[in-house]
Amino acid sequence: MLVALALMTLPFALSAAGTAWVRITNLAILYVFLSLGLNIVVGYAGLLDLGYVAFYGVGAYVYALLASPHLGIHLPFWIILPIGAALAAIFGVLLGTPTLKLRGDYLAIVTMGFGEIVRIFLNNLSRPINITNGPQGIARIDPVRLDGINFGRDDVWFGLTVNGPTKYYYLLLLLLIAVIVVNMRLQNSRIGRAWEAIREDETAARAIGIDTTRIKLLAFAMGASFGGVAGGMFAAIQEFISPESFVLTESVMILAMVVLGGMGNIWGVIAGALLLSFAPEMLRYTVVPVQMAVFGRLLIEPEVIRMLLFGLALVLMMRYRPAGLWPLRARQREFSKQDVAK
C-alpha cells in the first residue's frame, strides 16, 4: 500500500526537483522493461545475448513508421505496440534459429553481430526507397493519444498542471505492472521451468522430453517482444529516434543491469535496472556542483567519473557478488511442511 502510494505521488515530488527527473524516471522504467525481457533469455534460459538492443530498435522503428509524418501513417499506439512486440518476436526467432547450437561465448559473439546488423540496416535503409530515413532518424513522431488525452502536452486537471512526462509516467507504471505480472507468471509455469531446465542442464532437459529447439526459440521470441514494447514507448516519449540510440553499448548496459541485480530474479533485475539508470544521472547532477564548491573549478568530467565508478562496480561485483546483488534463490512453494512430510 505504502509503496503504491509512493509510486502514485512520485512524479509530483520529482517535478519539484525539475521535470527532467520525471523524464529520467520514465527512461528508467523503459530500462526495467528491457532488463526483464533480456532476463528471460539470459536469466531463465541461460542464453547469453549481446544484441538485445536490436529488438528495442525494431519496436521503436515500428512505432515511428506507423505514427509519424515520415510515411504519413498515424495509427493509435494500442495497435502499434502489439505489432511492434510481434515483429520483435519474429526477429527474436530469426536470431534464435541459426544460433540454436551455440552456447556461451560463441552465442554472445553471434548475437552481438546480429545487433550490429540491425543497426546498420536502420542506418542504410534510406535508399533506394526511404524507409528508415537513415542516420537522420525519424522526427515528429506522434505522442500517445488515448481517449482524447494527448500525452505529449501539458494539461490542467482540477487546477493541477499535469505535464506530458507525468502522464507517460502513469502509463508506464501501468505497463510495468503488466510486464512484471507476465514475467512472474512465465517464470512460474511449465514453459518457465523448461527454460530453467535448459539453463541448468540442456542434455538432461532433452532426455526428459523437452523440445529444446522450440523452447529456446520461445525464450528469444518472448524476450524480444518485451524489447519491442519498450522500443515503441521510447519512440512515443522521445518523439524522435535515430539509429544512434540502438548501439552495442546499450546492449551491454542492459546486460549489466540484468547481471548486477541477479540473473533470473525479477526483483533483483528491476533493482539493477533502476540502479544503473539513476546512478549516472545522480552523478551528473552532483559531480559538477560538488567540484565547483570544493575546488572552485571542474577537475574531472562527470563522464569520466561515471566510467570510473562503473568499472569499479564491475570489479567489486565480480570479486564479492558474482551472482548479482540479489541472486536467484529457490522459490519457496506455498504449501506447508506437514503436507509435504506425510
Partner: protein, 253 residues
C-alpha cells in the same frame, strides 16, 4: 512368456576408429528387470545414449512397444515412453527437488505461453495436477521431505532417487538406469534395490546398467553382457554368471 517391449536390431555405434557398439541385438520383455553389464568402456552408456537419441546410431534400429522407434530427437524418445537416468547424476541443480520432478511432467502436459500468462482455469488445473503428481513421485522414491530443497543440496543418495523420480514423472514404459548404485553405501544400495524391485512390482520395465554384481544378480530377471561393444551373453543371471566367455571378459584373460 510376456510380450516384448524393446527390441534392438544390430545396433552399431562408431566414434571415429572406436567401435563402441558392434551389432548389438537384444530383447527386453514387458515387466522385467533387464541387466546390462560389462567391463569399463564396454559400451553400456553408449547403448543408452543411442537408445535415447542423444547419439545417433551408425547402423541398426529399435522396435519399441510394437512399433519402430523414431529417434530423430531425444524428446521424442521420452514422449514414446523411455526415460533414463545418467551415470554422472544430471539434475537441474539450482531448482528444487519438486521443480525437478515437475519438469519431468513437461512431456505429458501442454500449457503454452498464452496459458502461462492468462492463467485460465485449464492451465491452473494442469499446473495443480503437475505439482500433485510430482509430489506423489517424491513420496514414491521416499524423499518428499526434501521437496523444497535445491537439488544440489541433497545428499548423494537422495540425488540418485530424485533423478529416478524425475524420470518416473514422464510416465515411462521403460525406465533405463545407468549405474544407479554407483557411489552408494551398503544401506543406500539396499534401499535402492527395494525401490527398483518395487518398480517392477508396479508393472514397470527396467533396463539396468550396474557394476555391483551382487545387485544385478539378485535383482535382474535377465542379463546381457557387453564386451568391447559386442554382446557376448544374454540369459538368466545364474547362467550368465557361469558363462566362460563372461568370466574371461571380466578377468581380462
Amino acid at each position: 512368456m510376456s510380450a516384448i517391449l524393446l527390441e534392438a536390431h544390430a545396433v552399431a555405434k562408431r566414434f571415429g576408429g572406436i567401435r563402441a557398439l558392434h551389432d548389438v541385438s537384444l530383447t527386453i520383455r514387458q515387466g522385467e528387470i533387464y541387466g546390462l553389464i560389462g567391463p569399463n568402456g564396454a559400451g553400456k552408456t553408449t547403448f543408452f545414449n543411442v537408445l535415447t537419441g542423444l547419439y545417433s546410431a551408425t547402423t541398426g534400429s529399435f522396435t519399441f512397444a510394437g512399433a519402430p522407434l523414431k529417434i530423430s530427437a531425444p524428446h521424442q524418445v521420452a514422449r514414446a515412453g523411455i526415460a533414463r537416468t545418467f551415470q554422472n547424476i544430471r539434475l537441474f541443480a539450482n531448482m528444487t527437488a519438486l521443480e525437478n520432478v515437475m519438469v519431468g511432467r513437461h512431456v505429458r502436459t501442454r500449457a503454452g505461453v498464452l496459458g502461462a500468462v492468462l492463467r485460465d482455469a485449464g492451465t491452473r488445473a494442469e499446473e495443480a495436477a503437475i505439482e500433485r503428481r510430482a509430489l506423489e513421485m517424491l513420496h514414491y522414491v521416499g524423499i518428499a521431505d526434501r521437496a523444497n530443497d535445491l537439488a544440489r543440496n541433497l545428499p548423494y543418495g537422495d540425488q540418485r532417487r530424485l533423478e529416478i523420480a524425475r524420470a518416473l514423472a514422464t510416465d515411462p514404459k521403460l525406465l533405463a538406469l545407468d549405474e544407479p548404485a554407483a557411489g552408494m553405501n551398503a544401506t543406500e544400495t539396499a534401499a535402492l534395490r527395494t525401490l527398483v524391485a518395487g518398480l517392477r512390482a508396479d508393472g514397470l520395465t527396467v533396463l539396468l546398467i550396474e557394476h555391483d554384481v551382487k545387485l544385478v544378480m539378485g535383482l535382474c530377471d535377465r542379463v546381457a553382457v557387453l564386451d568391447y561393444g559386442e554382446k557376448i551373453a544374454e540369459d538368466v543371471p545364474e547362467k550368465v554368471q557361469r558363462d566362460p566367455k563372461v568370466i574371461e571378459a571380466y578377468l581380462g584373460v
